[in-house]
């Protein structure tokens, strides 16, 4: 009886179909501008069908964010591998992070800016953010490499990592959420931030 396996395959396929539809809508129009009914319409099922595959709208979002995080983490890892100089690697990693955010603004919004948290959110949180933690770990490793190579002066690795993250996030999020503001050239702003932070950390 391969029928059971086939049905399970079909179930998984529909799950993916829902995910794909939701991702496209979320990314193009933003999380809160997309209704469950619209997602359902897109996949040509009834709205309630989605609830057979996902707990709620937020879970749908979390699942998509995980994918996104995975892509980001992968990119950061390949940068770390390909670079020789640890400082250069860190800089490239930061740029990659910001660029990633600017290229996927709605994704970024949803994962880092709005970051809607479930009411009564326990193990769910930790699990969904595993990929995010992996990306954070990459950044931390890059910082640690700079310190080990004596390029940075000895300091609290955790704090420095978080500060650099905050620097990148600050630029990314402001550029995304306030597009009407008279910003200077984006790349100038990004480079200035990264260079200034790194300069300030130099031994």
């Amino acid at each position: 009886m391969g029928s059971k396996q086939r049905r399970e395959r079909e179930k998984e396929a529909l799950r993916q179909e829902i995910l794909d539809a939701a991702r496209e809508l979320f990314v193009n129009e933003g999380y809160e501008n997309v209704s469950m009914r619209r997602i359902a319409e897109k996949i040509e099922y009834s709205p309630t069908t989605i609830y057979l595959y996902f707990d709620d709208k937020l879970s749908l979002l979390y699942a998509i964010c995980e994918e996104t995080f995975a892509r980001l983490a992968k990119r950061m890892e390949s940068i770390a591998r390909d670079s020789k100089d640890p400082v250069e690697a860190l800089k490239l990693g930061c740029r990659a992070y910001v660029d990633f955010g600017l290229k996927n603004p709605n994704h970024y919004k949803v994962t880092f800016i709005n970051h809607p948290q479930h009411p009564r959110d326990d193990k769910r949180h930790a699990k969904e953010e595993s990929m995010g933690m992996r990306a954070y770990g990459n950044l931390r490793a890059a910082v640690e490499a700079c310190i080990k190579a004596k390029k940075f002066r000895e300091t609290n690795v955790e704090a420095v990592t978080q500060m650099i993250w905050a620097g990148g996030h600050g630029i990314t999020s402001l550029l995304i959420t306030m597009p009407g503001f008279p910003w200077v050239k984006k790349s100038e702003l990004i480079d200035l931030m990264i260079d200034t932070l790194v300069d300030g950390l130099m031994a």
Copy 2:
């Protein structure tokens, strides 16, 4: 006929009452968790009465944000006045900004993080953000003073101002939106950011 004036005074009083109720609810529970009906209930009027005083929910929010901005701008200005050293003034200003955000997280969320923009948003935007621009102007002036005093090396004032803002905003927004993350001590993180940026900018 003083009756006309009296009625106008009463109208203004109700407007303030609405604003006060909305502010308290927004600040305590967050913008999107508060419904017009709840605000109405609090002031003991029907929900539609609010629409006689404000265009919509977002306008209510904007009005409140203006007040908040004004407070922030005032604080920053007094810091600028009281400090002698321009670099110290800049540092204190940044700290004041971050502290302000952390002390009023829901206000900060609503003004800087979510920053909901009206669809078909023209002069409204510019006007509502006048106070924000004033605060930005203060920061810019502080940066300019550092450059004029030859403490910072000559650079693009606009870019440096925006970078510093992004640095402060990055920390503030991350601390607010991801309270579950294993952050290092807040004050350590804030000081590290400010000191590192300023060090990186020093002549």
